[in-house]
């Protein structure tokens, strides 16, 4: 179970690198990132972390609500 969490983290991290690289790096005239690209990558990561936390919160609220409704429906069904 600890291993699965690690694997998910690694995939998220690699995916984030791919997306921020793809969206922010477009200049291949040098081997190192420009200041502009670094800024873009930084903001890309910050936004993603906030987005990801927000999606997680809202989604678990949603799940809890749904579980409640199902329980209520089941209770009504057995009556």
């Amino acid at each position: 179970s600890n291993g699965i969490g690690m694997q998910d983290f690694v995939r998220m991290y690699n995916h984030l690198s791919e997306r921020c690289f793809s969206d922010c790096v477009n200049d291949f005239t040098s081997r190192t990132t420009t200041t502009k690209e670094q800024g873009c990558v930084g903001r890309c990561v910050q936004k993603f972390v906030q987005l990801s936390q927000r999606v997680g919160q809202r989604f678990s609220e949603q799940q809890a609500l749904q579980a409640e409704q199902q329980a209520a429906a089941a209770a009504a069904g057995t009556r």
Partner: protein
């Protein structure tokens, strides 16, 4: 002990299914709600509102699709007698 192993395997699968869904939802709402230029490092007010609605709508679509798939499966098994087990 065999039952325990099965229960563990099922829990792992559920976790993986959930993690896959969460990652697709995050990815989908990123595409729908976040401007690509990353002018700012924090979420704008409009972006947070959009994300909340996006999660609600994604979850709703996911549930609806699950219901449709279940109905189609039942319709296909239709006349055929239910398999034991």
């Amino acid at each position: 002990q065999f039952q325990q192993q099965q229960a563990l395997a099922m829990a792992e699968q559920e976790l993986e299914a959930f993690s896959d869904l969460f990652s697709r939802m995050t990815h989908g709402c990123w595409t729908k709600c976040i401007a690509n230029n990353y002018a700012d490092g924090s979420l704008a007010k409009g972006e947070t509102v959009c994300i909340d609605r996006c999660v609600a709508k994604f979850a709703e679509v996911h549930t609806r699709i699950g219901q449709s798939l279940a109905e189609m499966q039942q319709a296909q098994q239709g006349a055929a007698p239910a398999a034991p087990q």
